[in-house]
Point group: C2
Chain length 342, copies 2
Amino acid sequence: MSLIAGRVESRIHTVLAGQRAGWAAEQPALAELFDGLDAFVAAGGKRLRPAFCYWGAVAAGATGDEPGLLDTCAALELLHAFALIHDDVMDGSATRRGEPAVHIRFAREHAAAGWAGESRRHGEGLAILTGDLAFVLADGLLDAAPASARRLWHELRVELVAGQWVDVVASAGTDRSPALARWVARYKSGRYTVERPLQLGAALAGDDILLAGYSAFGAPLGQAFQLRDDILGVFGDPSETGKPSGDDLREGKPTLLLALGSEYASGTDRRLIDRVGSPDLDDDEVAELRSLFERCGARAMVEAEIERLVMQSERALALWAIDPDVRDQLHALAACATARAR
Amino acid sequence: MSLIAGRVESRIHTVLAGQRAGWAAEQPALAELFDGLDAFVAAGGKRLRPAFCYWGAVAAGATGDEPGLLDTCAALELLHAFALIHDDVMDGSATRRGEPAVHIRFAREHAAAGWAGESRRHGEGLAILTGDLAFVLADGLLDAAPASARRLWHELRVELVAGQWVDVVASAGTDRSPALARWVARYKSGRYTVERPLQLGAALAGDDILLAGYSAFGAPLGQAFQLRDDILGVFGDPSETGKPSGDDLREGKPTLLLALGSEYASGTDRRLIDRVGSPDLDDDEVAELRSLFERCGARAMVEAEIERLVMQSERALALWAIDPDVRDQLHALAACATARAR
């Protein structure tokens, strides 16, 4: 897994450096567009999507050395950068990977230089473009992929946009049903983190039969991944996650944790739950909400659901006749996606 | 020209309606994602990019009935929708095609419903996603195109992002050189409006020899198109352009008009020029700037440059041995791009 992560990082850096050289010679201001994206990718991340794609391909018979496989893995990581950079603008999140979010960094540069116009508008504009660039370059890396892989890639991207749309609309609204929260977990990140990368791997290896098996393994695992993310968003250690804890609550994110907390809260707890979605929610209130989620059993129920989903994915994995070493890698990857602290 | 415009509109509507059906059944909130983009495309636009692609293909030997050609024309119009929707967020523009910009419409809905969070953030988030959807669907339409066309498509998209980046950075900064303004005009819209669509048409028709000829015709014409746009942004009639006049001045856009005005202004005119880029620039100041651009000759110089560029493109057009009817169509299209009032 660490092997493919390093190769992906170096492939992305090479793509960006190649583009940067020509463009910065045209216009010096363009250096920062490429450098900004390069720095964002280099700042970290678990590289889960490339890893699922890589092992999905190897399990389906790829040697792992195919250049097209590396390009697709790099494309998945660039697509992830696009999603995070745009999401942070949409959510107004200030921190990512332990650093100021891209839009915050550019807004601060604008303010410090005393440039014309509004700093927030400027910072968000440059972040949107940094995300757009990641999106375009990701797509360029898929250009030589077989038609079946490009079809999956296309579906994955529409799902990502649709999932994020429902996330933003639900964050503003009042529907706190578990059904909606589970749907968002599935589309917003479950599919594009696990199921689709695995399927892309199979398609690159020319194996269309494994696609259904990969859904049986990947769909519950992707859902479990997002539920873990939701728990870390509230209970995680910011020094590990690189994000302030409680932002999901300030933004009113439609998580299963919140949905179950809302179902079981009453009395003064009800008033506290109604504060979720307020940008001015303070640290004391976040701490009280944490305690509420513990007390009413919402956290335990989400943990139980993660466990159930992981078991379901492991049963699917056990059914395939694949190389035991590859199975071990997929097993380790599943643990990394769902039992993580960051 | 009108023929391809109608076919493109109906193709885009069909693509969106097909996606909408499945997604709205999954989550009712998704209907508005597809409807919003559909309404934006239907609200108007000159469909210049599809027209240049279509006639570029026909001049290169296409019949005009190839499904791949229609799909590429529709992709260009969707990419244009992406660019406009994101640009309006980045520029903070309130009006487009005579209607509230996408981000303004969604922000107003949020405010009227009294939803949680900040209305501006919500509106801009949904507009970013509407643009992202246009981008993904555009790309899907190019999926079956030949490799040479996809290469051009890829370059066009990087150019678009790079051009917009320099536009945003230059709007905030103090470099008002004509060289920078001409560069932005070329990359931000000249290339993706004329030269690249023509070349895409040639690539779809399987003619790689015409590519250089299309640059000789398309590059000056694209530049002239953007210079006309800059003039309309300051002197245009809002009932024709669908945008308030003077926004380019409030946003400090690095146009050739402003660059030449800056070069020739002195005394009190200098102080007026220094107000460009201030979001609170009022209508009286915009009127004074208009008069300044007339008085100092900046407007006349830009008009002369448009004329020179159009002549240059016509000389290139006259050199090709193509069907006289097709030449007439390209000639009419060039006039439509550069002598327009909207």
